[in-house]
């Protein structure tokens, strides 16, 4: 099997699974218990924080373990909105966010907040001028994703952060789920207040993730309960999950050097795919290397997906979270791609250990499928 759906989720690393198993079976005590067993477990969770913090060059007191990307985004956005609503009720985001940001913003909109959804150009990029124009005295939060999960657009996060330093009342949250371990982000930048990371996108486990929350910002918690995670995320800690995340993060960071080769794979994919008249590449030229999104005229995407699956190759449509709906992608529409292409997009997403042969097989299979069905479909 050739797995090319790594932006939906990744295969857990065997080392990460081992860590999870050992911690879950041997270090099961509650870290809040005052006996020695509790102490050992607390040490593990602290060490997990330190490791994540040292990878990201933040303080370990700024790392909060959560159940993943969706929770981290919810915690940051609602947490800031409700904590600082007295300062203002305006939030700025983009039209191409993941549902775990967009839907939160819509929810807040229904509950008395005002939200600006910044438009994007044909590459999926926002403009700094638009952002600057949208900022008002009431703006308490700007939430923008680093790497888009459908097409791989990379937003100019450093420039945005530089600009937001001049707006001390406005916090800046980043959905870094698709960027972590792949593209650098200046985590210690003063203009950045919180960052979402998800475990299962970096060969960690589902249900693991973290929110980096700087000391500069405080949150209203989503849950109320005990004092775990400084009260920001009550509930007995998922220690095995936290330690496994720390390990996944280290492994991801160590293989980040492999990322450069994905640019070559992407160039190869583009070069070959562009030769087909039916194919439109939807991903921007200067986007992330690991994601390539394209549409094939005359082919329903699910037909392609199933045909590939029959050949042992796994690719997907849009993002996993919305692929069940038969609607055009909101991301592609926002980029100005027409209704029909926006409804028929296929996404190839690679991991850091992808082999050149995988890409060759994919292209060969693509050719076979097109030749086999073009008459029927055309």
């Amino acid at each position: 099997m050739i797995y090319l759906d790594n932006s939906a989720t990744t295969k857990p690393h065997i080392e990460v699974l081992k860590t999870y198993q050992t911690v879950a079976s041997e270090y099961f005590a509650n870290p809040s218990s005052i006996h020695r067993l509790g102490g050992e477990v607390e040490k593990l969770i602290n060490k997990a924080k330190e490791q994540v913090a040292s990878i990201l060059k933040v303080k370990s007191s700024e790392v909060f373990f959560t159940s993943g990307g969706t929770e981290s985004n919810n915690l940051a956005i609602k947490g800031i909105a409700y904590r600082y609503q007295n300062r203002g009720k305006h939030i700025i985001t983009t039209q191409i966010e993941h549902p775990s940001v967009l839907e939160v913003c819509k929810f807040l909109e229904a509950n008395g907040f005002k939200v600006t959804y910044l438009p994007v150009n044909e590459h999926g990029e926002i403009s700094l001028q638009d952002l600057e124009k949208a900022l008002t005295n009431e703006t308490i939060l700007v939430t923008i994703m680093h790497v888009n999960n459908e097409i791989g657009t990379v937003q100019p996060i450093s420039d945005i952060a530089d600009m937001l330093i001049q707006y001390p009342k406005t916090f800046f949250h980043i959905d870094h789920v698709q960027g972590f371990g792949k593209l650098p982000l200046p985590y210690d930048h003063k203009g950045i207040d919180s960052v979402t990371i998800s475990g299962h996108k970096i060969h960690g486990l589902k249900g693991t993730g973290c929110l980096i929350k700087k000391e500069s910002v405080s949150l209203a918690p989503l849950f109320h309960g005990g004092q775990q995670e400084q009260g920001n995320r009550p509930g007995t800690e998922n220690v095995a999950g936290a330690v496994s995340l720390a390990k996944a993060a280290r492994l991801a960071k160590e293989s980040q050097t492999n990322y450069d080769q994905l640019y070559r794979y992407q160039a190869n994919l583009r070069e070959v795919l562009e030769q087909y008249d039916q194919v439109t590449i939807n991903s921007p030229k200067h986007g992330a290397a690991h994601i390539l999104n394209f549409s094939v005229k005359g082919f329903k995407p699910e037909v392609l997906i199933h045909a590939f699956m029959d050949e042992g190759i796994v690719v997907s449509t849009k993002s996993a979270c919305s692929s069940k709906q038969n609607e055009p992608s909101h991301v592609l529409l926002a980029c100005g791609i027409d209704q029909s292409d926006a409804s028929s997009a296929v996404r190839v997403s690679m991991n850091l250990d992808q082999k050149a042969e995988d890409i060759e097989s994919f292209l060969q299979t693509f050719n076979n499928i097109i030749r086999q069905y073009e008459n029927v479909m055309g």
Binding site: T19, I34, H35, R36, G39, K43, K47, S60, V243
Partner: protein, 400 residues
């Protein structure tokens, strides 16, 4: 060619006359220990500066660690070239290409007067070379984005840009050893840190009273000791079982003098441990006027039992400043963990804030602690903490 050196500048060290060589060797060995997990480096200590040859090693982590080594006034990434005009020009150009900004300034110094071109003229030669070979850079001598320093020394020329401030102070181990009374609180780790800053190598002593104090309280102290190794290398932590003594005090002394007597016994034990280990002073986190035991009267009554010097680096500091330091050195979050240490159990409801020496002596006289003190010292347990990077083989390591 990119940066191939870290150039380290001494502060006070450079002034230390006859002992200078000793101080420099100490610093060199501390730097070597702090970076021992980078086998490629070579470290050279000269009379006026030290340098670390990177030999291809990434410098980011090295910079972070140098920020925590006492005795370093400032340091910079550097390129080392021969004392040759053309070579220097080439290196200066490479250095500016690594920088971001629009304006620059060259500051050339020429301690080596054998070099034929005077500094002023060198500034012009090098500035001109950059202007001719780059785009977008202009000179600004008053407020440049980037300052490139060129130091033409006897052995070679060093080209550096950003000057990164070090922690200052003196190399740990250069001024002797002290025994730190380490409780689980906020103050004592800060006191230890400031003492290390003056070149002192620490050992630490902690009193615990199981089962009245928990494993978690002990863990806290061990974590504090571990955290302090970042600044001073190895730290030995001596754990004194204190249960019997505390019970004896509780049973035999008037309640309001219990705390004073307890502190005096701690100090007696500390002095004995210090003597055994040839340590010449004791360090505490006491500050004036914070809590009951830290009044002038209390200090006077407690200090009576030893004539060892007691170093109290916090005595003149405000609590907020102490807390700020503890946050900077990452001991704060450990110190605020809510586990009781032996100083917070058996606390009388109304401790004497103004104890008097005559009274303490009178209350203490009938209580004989000799056997208990001897036993406590015999049963002392010593744990050695090495700087965290060296603590390999941690049972948890494979999980991470």
């Amino acid at each position: 060619m990119i940066y191939d050196h870290v150039l380290i500048r001494y502060g006070e060290l450079a002034l230390k006359g006859k002992n200078q060589k000793f101080f420099i060797n100490k610093l060199r060995s501390n730097v070597q220990k702090a970076l021992s997990d980078f086998p490629n480096l070579s470290i050279k200590g000269k009379r006026d500066h030290m340098y670390i040859l990177l030999n291809g090693q990434d410098y980011e982590e090295i910079i972070e660690r140098c920020k925590d080594i006492f005795g370093i006034q400032s340091f910079s990434l550097a390129i080392k070239v021969e004392n040759d005009e053309e070579k220097i020009k080439e290196a200066v150009l490479e250095a500016i290409l690594l920088e971001e900004g629009k304006t620059f300034k060259i500051t050339a110094k020429r301690p080596n007067k054998n070099f034929p071109i005077p500094s002023q003229q060198m500034n012009q030669v090098l500035g001109g070379h950059i202007l001719r070979n780059t785009e977008g850079w202009t000179v600004n001598v008053h407020n440049p984005d980037v300052e490139i320093r060129v130091e033409i020394r006897h052995d070679a020329t060093y080209i550096t840009s950003k000057k990164i401030p070090g922690k200052g102070g003196l190399p740990v181990g250069s001024t002797g050893k002290s025994l730190l009374l380490l409780s689980g609180g906020i103050d004592s780790p800060v006191a230890g840190y400031l003492t290390m800053k003056r070149g002192v190598q620490l050992e630490a002593i902690h009193f615990h009273s199981p089962p009245f104090t928990s494993d978690r309280a002990r863990q806290k102290v061990e974590d504090l000791a571990q955290t302090l190794t970042k600044f001073g290398g190895e730290i030995k932590l001596h754990l004194i079982p204190f249960t019997d003594i505390q019970q004896k005090i509780f049973q035999n002394a008037p309640e309001n003098y219990g705390m004073t007597i307890m502190r005096r016994v701690m100090l007696r034990i500390s002095e004995q441990v210090a003597r055994q280990r040839e340590i010449l002073s004791i360090t505490t986190g006491e500050s004036l006027g914070q809590v009951a035991s830290q009044t002038m009267e209390s200090m006077h009554a407690i200090n009576e039992v030893t004539n060892y010097p007691i170093i109290r680096p916090l005595v003149a500091m405000d609590k907020v400043d102490i807390i700020n330091i503890s946050k900077q050195i990452n001991t704060y979050d450990i110190s605020i963990r809510p586990y009781e240490d032996c100083c917070t159990i058996f606390v009388p409801k109304a401790p004497k804030t103004r104890p008097r020496r005559e009274k303490v002596n009178q209350f203490e006289a009938p209580i004989d602690f000799t056997d208990e003190i001897e036993k406590a010292i015999n049963d002392m347990e010593t744990v050695t903490f090495k700087s965290s990077k060296q603590n390999q083989g941690d049972i948890y390591d494979e999980l991470f």
